[in-house]
């Protein structure tokens, strides 16, 4: 970032020198005549309305892209901390660690990975991926895991607005624990 800013600063100095013909440096002396002619022709084409269909489509797409980008920039960024109630917050890692600990205490779970997103409203969105042996009853494990995690987090006072549980069948030789 610092290098980029430094490069922009140097470029700015050069632009000022060439633009005001300082120290015998002139803008006309730069080898950019083809480029400036191209820009001139393009702008003249825009003014005359004589652009090709492909160019018009590209310009419209660019305008739409810019609009989407602008709207995306207007959206406030997601909060970093999980809001619990009035004036109490926990870091996302607290929720992650707690969910991971609880999930790995469930007998059928061999390993887990947790993602936590803080919401503007109280509670966090938790995405839990649990690894289980092949051939297990996934439906039973999933509902058991969901209720266990919700119950434990509720005991701790950690609010969860949404809990997504995904079970992945895995080889026990490649998981954190082979046997529970």
């Amino acid at each position: 970032m610092i290098l980029l800013l430094a490069a922009l600063f140097v470029l700015g100095v050069y632009v000022v020198i060439y633009a005001f013909d300082l120290f015998d440096y002139k803008l006309e002396s730069l080898p950019i005549t083809d480029f400036t002619k191209g820009v001139d022709n393009f702008v003249a084409g825009v003014e005359d309305g004589s652009l090709s269909t492909v160019t018009i489509i590209i310009l419209v797409l660019l305008a739409i892209l810019g609009l989407i980008w602008f709207i995306a920039e207007l959206r406030p960024s997601a909060p970093r901390r999980v809001r619990m109630g009035s004036g109490t917050y926990v870091t996302r890692s607290v929720v992650e660690d707690e969910v991971s600990t609880v999930a790995e205490q469930v007998p059928d779970v061999l390993g887990s990975s947790v993602g936590v997103k803080a919401k503007r409203s109280p509670g966090a969105q938790v995405d839990l991926e649990a690894r289980v042996r092949r051939g297990e009853d996934l439906g039973t494990i999933k509902s058991g895991l969901q209720s266990t995690v919700r119950e434990r987090l509720s005991e701790r006072g950690l609010p969860v607005s949404k809990l997504n549980v995904k079970l992945v069948e895995a080889d026990p030789r490649q998981t954190k624990t082979r046997v529970q």
């Binding site: 619990m84 109630g85 109490t88 917050y89 926990v90 701790r156 006072g157």
Partner: protein
């Protein structure tokens, strides 16, 4: 009502005396603290509107997190001078 560093000091003492609090939070990237002169109180940030108290809870938790936060808030309230007290774990 205390102000600035005095309030930070009182909040820190109150937080550390609360059951379930292991230490004041020191942040991962930036240390939350209040400075005045050569003194620094870690884990407390005092602004004209808010009083932020960063704590590390003891594990396993002796009681739910909201209760710990509420206790801290109640103890600190007389010093806060109308500031909104925010507890961060």
């Amino acid at each position: 009502m205390a102000d600035g560093i005095e309030l930070a000091r009182a909040a820190s003492v109150a937080a550390l005396a609360t059951e379930g609090v292991y230490s004041m939070g020191r942040g991962r990237y930036v240390e939350p603290a209040t400075y005045e002169g050569s003194e620094k109180v870690s884990g407390v940030v005092v602004t004209p509107e808010d009083l932020e108290i960063h704590i590390v809870a003891r594990y396993p938790l002796p009681r739910p997190i909201p209760e710990i936060a509420e206790t801290i808030r109640e103890i600190v309230a007389p010093y806060a001078g109308g500031r909104k007290t925010i507890v961060l774990l």
